[in-house]
Amino acid sequence: MSAKTPKSPGRKLFTIIVITAVIAAGVSLATVALLVSIFEHKQEARNPFYRVVELDDDTVDPEIWGKNFPLQFDSYKKTVDMVRTRHGGSEAVIHEPTETDPRTEVSQSKIEADPRMKRMWAGYSFSADFREERGHAYMLVDQTYTGRQQAAPQPGTCINCHASTYTAYKELGDGDIMEGFAKINQMSYAEAREHVDHPVSCLDCHDPDTMHLRVTRPAFIEGIRLVKAAEGLDDYDVNRDASRQEMRTYACAQCHVEYYFAGDEKRLTFPWHNGRKADEILEYYEEIGFKDWTHKETGAPMLKAQHPEFEMWSQGIHSKAGVSCADCHMPYMRVGAQKVSDHHVRSPLLNINNACQTCHRESESEMLDRAETIQARHIEMRDMALDALVELIDGIKKAQDAGATQDELADALNYQRKASFLLDFAEAENSAGFHADQEAARVLSKSMDFSRRGWMTLADWWEGQRTETDTIAEVIPAD
């Protein structure tokens, strides 16, 4: 009945009142939500971190640090990600566990992808197993089980950079890291492995009291002192004298460098005595007569370049502009009102937004295109240098087969050693030329030049084999 009668003024008023109340309640709700959000953001900005647990200089386990620094810890854990970029990176490959290697997943093999590298490193353990480097999370497990351990047992020195070693140094050296460092260097890998539990951890780079960056690796402390002395700075103490921005590079450069094991005590040493460029390092190795191994095919005394990211970066435009490793590989990220360093250390090409665009205003696609162009050119040059080196190795073998003695081939073998080291330097450096593109091109050109000079000495030897009637082409046997 009532539905048919027109609404009374009282009923209309009632409806308006109810709707008003509902809207007011809705507005209150939304405002409270906003108020809470503003409150939370203000709190975040006020407290950069909450001290949930006490950290001291012996707290190795990153999970404990993670309680005070959950944002940094979360991104640190992401270093398990396995992602490819166009010219690098690691992607997961299924691995059948064996007795000596229980891993179910590894990264793709570089020497299987490019067998020329096996020839370059013939007779050295790198020709047995060499894979794409995976993230920090895998540094310890990948080194413990690499096929290189079977090919030739590795020294304890290797552990200096593949584990959180700071507390082990202190323990073994009774509080003196230099002392502990010396002891680890002289152990076997298996023995050194007993003293460490974690891949690189928070305290390897941070002071637990102040959170300031610090250098904990003795080889870098000694190496950078050499570099600074050459620049006229005496008694350089990196932890006392380096600026904050320098530390954002030095913390990484503790490990991402070229090195060798000096003397019988296998002391990890950075070869920066003549400078940090590839050829200056080569010159130093020549001076001290160092060799890593003897080439299996030719008998040349060889050098293996490791991963000289710091040295190569030092020659590049970003270094000149004062851009640190962390600026690109650990760029700031925003979490609410906070800004934290991304501890998911990875290729900037996977994070162009934060890594490049803080300084570069161009679009992400343009930045990616620039980087990939540099890398593609680098790989093309690398390929040419590698072909030239393999041809030199073939040439030396051919001369040996024809009766050339090692003495007669000394120059050719020395050119092989030099060409190989420089090529390796540009190849092992983990940016496909990006860290210093022109320097990488110069180093590769120099490698090619050494291969060419090696060939010239071979041509001279063949010339000496020539009788009056032969032409050189008749002397050199066809393949």
């Binding site: 008003t20 109340a21 309640a25 209150s28 108020l35 503003i38």
Partner: protein, 156 residues
């Protein structure tokens, strides 16, 4: 009977309105809402996203002569308040809901406003460099003040 229902509903509605007004008022004060109605650059750093820009500005040559609004809002009454409202809305949405581009980037509309602001103050010298500086499309393509002088107001 009916007036009693009306009275209860009226009171309830009144309370709801009162609560909304109260919370709204408190939020406005707590969020320093009034600061957005003036020109003080400090209010632009209220929500901390602009901390770096604010720090950069306070050390820059322009800090003694220009505020955020001088370069980032048009120099007309309507233009200024429309832009403040629009940017205020976008900023508060972005900061509350999240998901914005990091590092923050200027929108095309705001870039044009800033470009125009350069020309408003430095018109005399710009007119000698850019013959079309008076045109409404000035600064839209190659001859842009910001392209070369992007760090004048603050670093990025």
């Amino acid at each position: 009977m009916r007036w009693k229902v009306l009275l209860v509903a009226g009171i309830a509605s009144g309370i709801a309105l009162g609560v909304a007004a109260g919370i709204g008022g408190f939020t406005f004060v707590y969020a320093e809402g009034a600061s957005y109605l003036v020109d003080d650059p400090e209010s632009c750093a209220n929500c901390h996203i602009m901390n770096e820009q604010y720090d950069g500005w306070s050390k820059s040559s322009h800090s003694s002569i220009a505020t955020c609004n001088d370069c980032h809002t048009p120099h007309t009454f309507v233009g200024k308040w429309t832009t403040k409202a629009l940017n205020g809305y976008h900023h508060s949405m972005a900061f509350t809901v999240g998901g914005f581009h990091e590092p923050i980037q200027i929108t095309e509309r705001n870039r044009r406003i800033t470009e125009q602001a350069c020309r408003d103050c430095h018109g005399e010298i710009v007119s000698m460099i850019d013959p079309e500086s008076a045109s409404p499309h000035a600064g839209s393509d190659s001859l842009s003040c910001l392209k070369c002088h992007q760090s004048v107001g603050h670093l990025h």
